[in-house]
Symmetry: C2
Subunit: 236 residues, 2 copies
């Protein structure tokens, strides 16, 4: 469900493969990676294709190339942690408890503030987009449809802030919600709680009530956090 990633171009495959290996820890930081010629041969691609991939990975902060020394994997602190690919790789390899906790913390920081900003500045069109997403949640008959609509709701809200820097953080929210969908126990009672919460936020944005929107979103995130907690403890 979380992988509509099309590996069309060859160098994209190389990027994905190397990126995954690095983020998962298979390729340890410090030093590593055989030299271009060898690595290209080993992956069955030309050196140019490999180099194009390496330039991208280098832009994401995962690797660093220098003459004579070769190419080495950089430490995690240098990675572009907010990059959508990096998030996806982390998520695919280690949806560990501490990482989920960090994602939830990001939601707690970003989303209530975004809801408040949206309540202040949303245009009628943006409001309509939120409403459309909400209606889709209401009409959803299966888990997947609900997940899609939920994501659309949160994205529409971020767009309604009219601050594209905030909007770009959707990659984080998306990843957080994605792991939530996997980790939380989702059933009818869940939806019965979540749906009115989303409605309250929408209403607050529509009525230009920033603080109401903030509190509503805060509650929503807090609930989903405790939902994950319950699931984690139940799993033991």
């Amino acid at each position: 469900m979380v992988k509509p990633i099309v590996m069309r171009s060859l160098h994209n495959q190389v990027i994905q493969e190397l990126g995954r290996q690095i983020v998962s820890g298979e390729l340890e930081a410090g030093k590593g990676l055989p030299r271009e010629e060898l690595l290209a041969e080993r992956m069955n691609v030309s050196r140019t294709a490999l180099r194009e991939a390496m330039k991208v990975l280098s832009a994401k902060g995962l690797i660093e190339s220098r003459q004579k020394t070769g190419t080495r994997v950089r430490e995690a602190s240098h990675w572009n942690q907010l990059d959508a690919d990096v998030l996806a790789w982390r998520c695919a390899s280690m949806p560990t408890e501490s990482f989920v906790e960090k994602l939830v913390e990001m939601r707690e920081i970003i989303e209530p503030a975004a809801a408040a900003a949206a309540a202040r500045r949303a245009t009628p069109e943006q409001l309509a987009a939120i409403k459309t997403a909400y209606d889709a949640m209401e009409a959803a008959e299966d888990l997947d449809a609900w997940a899609v609509a939920d994501l659309a709701f949160h994205e529409a809200m971020l767009r309604a802030t009219n601050n594209e820097l905030l909007t770009s953080l959707f990659s984080v929210i998306e990843t957080a919600l994605g792991t939530y969908f996997v980790m939380s126990a989702r059933n009818a009672s869940n939806f019965n709680v979540a749906l009115p919460q989303h409605f309250k936020v929408y209403e607050a944005i529509r009525r230009h009530q920033p603080e109401v929107a903030r509190q509503g979103m805060l509650k929503m995130v807090a609930d989903s956090r405790s939902n994950i907690r319950r699931q984690a403890t139940a799993g033991r």
Copy 2:
């Protein structure tokens, strides 16, 4: 001051040049860019160098290449707005008022929350790093030294949250502070206000008082916002 960007490799120069042109709007969205061969010739580089640069720009969401159709500039909403390069390009070309406003809003959302998180979780080493930065601010004798120390303070605080997703947002804070240094009237009285504010935040983190840290940081950002406002109105 803000440009220690080394343009060592050739393809990096191409990335910078094209990136700047796109973000500044010289190259309009929708469609554009001559075909590879022409563009390479026009920039006096080989096609391979150009292609490596295009792959990186494509990863940043600035352009999109398709066979036969050619390469087109994507709309701003698809850009990786949180990417350090993109921020730098935006900042270099258009430090327009609305962009500054968005940067300040990001600070207001991120930094108080980060201060609170740091107060909860900072290790002794991380606390020492914050203290070191603060001491450097206190000892600074010129504007540049102060700016460097100030940046170090905010970075150390973000690191002390022990949430690398938050830490990665330093690129935004850095850009915001950079424009602040340029746009605000900086004089002795500024520092006399800012220094104790930083100390309060540091103390709150040291004493593990999240709410005190949050409020202190909130005040700090609010003050710098009004500082910019004053400057902007004074400039008219």
